[in-house]
Subunit: 287 residues, 6 copies
Amino acid sequence: MPAGDLRCAEWSSDAEWEAWVWTQIKAEARGDAESEPALASYLYSTILSHSSLERSLSFHLGNKLCSSTLLSTLLYDLFLNTFSSDPSLRAAAVADLCAAHERDPACVSFSHCLLNYKGFLACQAHRVAHKLWIQNRRPLALALHSRIADVFAVDIHPAARIGKGVLFDHATGVVVGETAVIGNNVSILHHVTLGGTGKAGGDRHPKIGDGVLIGASATILGNVKIGEGAKIGAGSVVLIDVPPRTTAVGNPARLVGGKERPSKHEDVPGQSMDHTSFMSEWSDYII
Amino acid sequence: MPAGDLRCAEWSSDAEWEAWVWTQIKAEARGDAESEPALASYLYSTILSHSSLERSLSFHLGNKLCSSTLLSTLLYDLFLNTFSSDPSLRAAAVADLCAAHERDPACVSFSHCLLNYKGFLACQAHRVAHKLWIQNRRPLALALHSRIADVFAVDIHPAARIGKGVLFDHATGVVVGETAVIGNNVSILHHVTLGGTGKAGGDRHPKIGDGVLIGASATILGNVKIGEGAKIGAGSVVLIDVPPRTTAVGNPARLVGGKERPSKHEDVPGQSMDHTSFMSEWSDYII
Amino acid sequence: MPAGDLRCAEWSSDAEWEAWVWTQIKAEARGDAESEPALASYLYSTILSHSSLERSLSFHLGNKLCSSTLLSTLLYDLFLNTFSSDPSLRAAAVADLCAAHERDPACVSFSHCLLNYKGFLACQAHRVAHKLWIQNRRPLALALHSRIADVFAVDIHPAARIGKGVLFDHATGVVVGETAVIGNNVSILHHVTLGGTGKAGGDRHPKIGDGVLIGASATILGNVKIGEGAKIGAGSVVLIDVPPRTTAVGNPARLVGGKERPSKHEDVPGQSMDHTSFMSEWSDYII
Amino acid sequence: MPAGDLRCAEWSSDAEWEAWVWTQIKAEARGDAESEPALASYLYSTILSHSSLERSLSFHLGNKLCSSTLLSTLLYDLFLNTFSSDPSLRAAAVADLCAAHERDPACVSFSHCLLNYKGFLACQAHRVAHKLWIQNRRPLALALHSRIADVFAVDIHPAARIGKGVLFDHATGVVVGETAVIGNNVSILHHVTLGGTGKAGGDRHPKIGDGVLIGASATILGNVKIGEGAKIGAGSVVLIDVPPRTTAVGNPARLVGGKERPSKHEDVPGQSMDHTSFMSEWSDYII
Amino acid sequence: MPAGDLRCAEWSSDAEWEAWVWTQIKAEARGDAESEPALASYLYSTILSHSSLERSLSFHLGNKLCSSTLLSTLLYDLFLNTFSSDPSLRAAAVADLCAAHERDPACVSFSHCLLNYKGFLACQAHRVAHKLWIQNRRPLALALHSRIADVFAVDIHPAARIGKGVLFDHATGVVVGETAVIGNNVSILHHVTLGGTGKAGGDRHPKIGDGVLIGASATILGNVKIGEGAKIGAGSVVLIDVPPRTTAVGNPARLVGGKERPSKHEDVPGQSMDHTSFMSEWSDYII
Amino acid sequence: MPAGDLRCAEWSSDAEWEAWVWTQIKAEARGDAESEPALASYLYSTILSHSSLERSLSFHLGNKLCSSTLLSTLLYDLFLNTFSSDPSLRAAAVADLCAAHERDPACVSFSHCLLNYKGFLACQAHRVAHKLWIQNRRPLALALHSRIADVFAVDIHPAARIGKGVLFDHATGVVVGETAVIGNNVSILHHVTLGGTGKAGGDRHPKIGDGVLIGASATILGNVKIGEGAKIGAGSVVLIDVPPRTTAVGNPARLVGGKERPSKHEDVPGQSMDHTSFMSEWSDYII
């Protein structure tokens, strides 16, 4: 979809934006149900029978995350109550839907992301777990965390703070620790670790600035700061601070252009999603 | 099992080969059911009650991939209709079973692979999703893709093209992008990424030649060409073309023997599965 | 929890230790059930309705690992019979619970680990599969292996031998091959591979000594020996023996301090869980 | 429970009455959960985790009546929305709970009725189906009707009108036709039919007055009027109007005391539940 | 629906009739799905996603009758294979749908009967069980019989022979014994027993002629013959042959008009469904 | 099966008898599994994988009676513990299996009864509920009672006392009240009510002597005594004591031969199962 058609960021209020996205999702699902009767039942139960995005999302998450000992009705109720009472969670979900739509060329529609993106679904469920955590309902938050980790293979500690417009692309194997913070408009590929430094408690996980792009299988360890608009190359092992708009690659990761005068880029890589151009240069350089 | 006993490749037709493999599977399952009554129910429901490999496989996939909103009967029907109407899918499944049997020393029997190998099961389900994709039934293909990614933690875009005789060993965490192509007789270990270059659409994922071996946790990004019979070392990050019968290792990956005159090997690594001898040499060399 | 309060290692017998841990778990669950009614049903069904740790664990694993073709009652029976008849499995489970509690600052309680840690649960289920394997009930062991790999994305071959007091932290994506051996008091992060050398059978997987720490996404291949108390850095690709109390890092991994005279550390990293200090030094050194 | 303790009828408002009953139910469930840990999980999920009777009832009915094609989350939502928006349905449920408690000596507690009485549960689900029917949502009402008939073997057409304080005792096999009307404080035993006259549509089913008692296996056919406070003997086949406070018995049913001057009784049999004294007299008389 | 619109009996072939009914069902379901989004998922999964009546019916029965030990996929396969290979079963199902539609004023549509009538569904499942029985697949026939009896509370021995155009109205509690025979165009109300004479085997159950009407809770015992077009009053206990077009009522049942010269009626009561006019006369007469 | 082959009553101990019956059941199931692969999975899971009748029965009942809020593992555990610890429950189950086999000509094998007879299964589950009741675990007993009533449409109060060798034939709709007592070798058809006298508590339900036969749809009300070896005709409504070896029929029921000098029969009708000869005589007599 051309960005001009989408215009995710131009709404006068979050509620208006949410209504617009929900309208798109319903229209997409209606079209798909007509063209594919085998999927119509699924589309009606997950989307078309619901009166709002929050109900659809609560239903879908409740059915995805339930188990024989944590029933879908209980989870549905929990999700619906939380999404209904906190508009910021709904606004974040809408921003995440738009992030996937804009940045991932394989994302063919909003409804595709809502239904099928395990990164999107894990992130929305995490937002609810995080809310429970800060309300001091920790055992419930951790039980939800466990279900997300089992079902999606995405392991985000409920205490971790995550901004809006975040894309977890593919998402399998992502691990985000307790004191990690992720800014707005960040894009994180699969198998990425934002890990701790060991046995001691306290503030021990990475802080990811706005607009950062973290490539597949990158491992960032410790209370390091990845500055706004930085890029982390796929497969990198990062143990150092990375200044804003610079690039770190390799195992162990070094700054492209050198520690003293790293190269700076102009784009916001979390949004431009340029995974490889810088890496190829670096690769050429080294070899 | 000695290769001489197996002779997977010597049948006069795919149908004859399929019949022979199915006979083996039934015999194995019958033996296991007799020696282990606790498993007999499982073996009868998944294998011994069925009249053909396609029915057994459709039943097993339908039960593995179903959810509360995508019922097993719907999926069973979809798998059975697709496998029944397209002999090439069945031939590919048979070739994949033989690939696992020949190449993986931990694969004790065909039935073990059929029942328990998440890589094998994910790949067969992908073949059906791919068929739906090229029939322009994309929403259904993507729904199936999503179930495979949730259940097996294997994320293969339904548009990706995969040859025959492919082994996804262990398979957890494998990610294969939309425009990726994988040849015949390829072996791919777990956590392997065949990823894209970013936000732009178009042809942006790797092309893997016949007989390639890709080690665990290797990340290959962009529309690069991994030539026939090449090897990619475990943990490598590959951003360059790799010529036929050469080896790439490291992060970023370099060709063993050097960019100009890389060493060439004789064997077909996707079949010989030599993961480490070349890497040890390389490792010795570097240190 | 301060180590002084816990004193996991000071009991006069395994049975006494088990009883004490079970008492703690019940008390924790009772407190959580009182403060969080929405979770009380879950806590009663998984913990508070049971008369022993082995019953609770068997119930929880049976419900987690069951499928439409492997019923929870069958698995519950299998787990309960195995845990009841072999005290060493129960002692290992208790040691693993204490390992998580002592080493992982995010582990808030024993019950949190028992209910929610996929690494803990996968390991206990593996211990049962391993017991079946050595009793020559291989098809059942492999079926259980397959369920663990599907549900937890943790793939431990049932023949692999694992000691006590082992922590699989986060655990998603761990792969442990058929002839691998893991000692006591080892800590292994997520995405770690203890892989083989290829197509040939025989003894082909790593041997991990007591007290070893293996960082996230490390790949160790072949029948190499990781000596007692060694550390393997995150993201490393290890193809060599690593002497006791030394550190290997990088891709390919080299010994810190050099091949000839590697630096030796004093602590037991599998217990101290110091993931990063040594890596930072090394990282500084290289760049 | 002595009537003096219960005083179901003495509340100043329906809401106050409902609150009192809900308090009783929670207290009963709490006591049972403490004395029977094996049932505690069930009691928490069905009663103790809920903040109101309508949530508890909606949860319980949703889980009882769901099927693989009508999900519990959908039904829970439907029940909760209906009970929340219509206080008269909640008042009727409370009156029915009290009816069971007062009239059935086997009813040991309100929570026992709420959880276990299929007649009570079928009747509350019918009230929702009836509401849907009069809102002209007939296909949904009939789908619910079908689930009630399958799960409880109680077949009440969604168009049938039922008063408050009604006891369906045992309930299996009850059939109530489309144009039937049941008054307040009626007691109906199992296998009772309020049936039609055949193929023609229109008003064709019995009208049951307030306070009527209908014995087990009684069959009442056609648009006949069973007057206020009448009794219908077990096994009777009734094709005639039965005047208020008279008794009909036999096959075909006749009025005790004769058609012209039937005997009149003083009590309200729907509440006094005297099943047999009159029948014994009649039986003696006939033989 | 006026009989003139329906004209169930006027098709030139069973296949044409089946096609017409299936078209009606799809149209009804489409209309209901549009007017009631909450039910659309159910209607798509059970009807609108299917390409034929036999697939829809097989899917619906498979999901209704499955259990944790008899999976829906197995039953779906069994039903679909049987209905596909035997057109007479499909023709009988169509005739039964028309019978309900014509005779039951509460039957608002064909789809209502297909989805919701437990008598219709039990009868179609019985037809499959009967086919298995005569193919000498008795254990499977009896397992299916057991599921029908559990799920629908309708207990028809798989050996019993049942004609076409049969209406089991309400159906709960119907019991039909092993050697019973039911003709065409028969209507049977709920709680009807066609029972045996005791311990001895052999031909020991009733034979019901074409066009018979059997009222609610009637009990017919032994190898008696209920002649063509006879009526059996509700609640009757019949131990005698009943001549064609006569009426038996009472406990024990007697012929209306007397044993020697019973009254004969003109209509076909199994189709006219006149339950009560004759009974009222008789009732008046006796009292 | 000829009685001579069966000889159910000739074993020197209950344990020996149980072992013999279990051997028969396994042999039957093995034969059925061989001849019907579609059923083999079911037969292995329910019978052939188990080491004893009590485990098979506990497994089968646990899976039949479980719900989303009462898990199969909990029920399995409860049944297995109860059957294991009380040999008299196992002896009663064996006697009931033999009763069905000897008296019901439609009972083709012991395994058929064990798997498929809802009367048999409801009765065994009731025996466990009764044991819980007398252990004062009443809420659990009532929860089990409720599941039996939902699943089998058989409603036996957990306080009711039931002897051995009892056959509930067809069983749907049976209702047995709190203070009812049923002797040994009794046969009870479907829709039979042993009901109370109304609102007052205390001893208010029928007492059924040894060897009694109660026909279909008979209703027996109040604390009346049905003497040893008596017969109750189908459809009777019984409000009086019935002397030993006499017959009561009709609505209201009268003694055959008259109140003063009722006819006495020689056989034990609960075992001879002569449902109808006496009724025919009586019927002839009346008409």
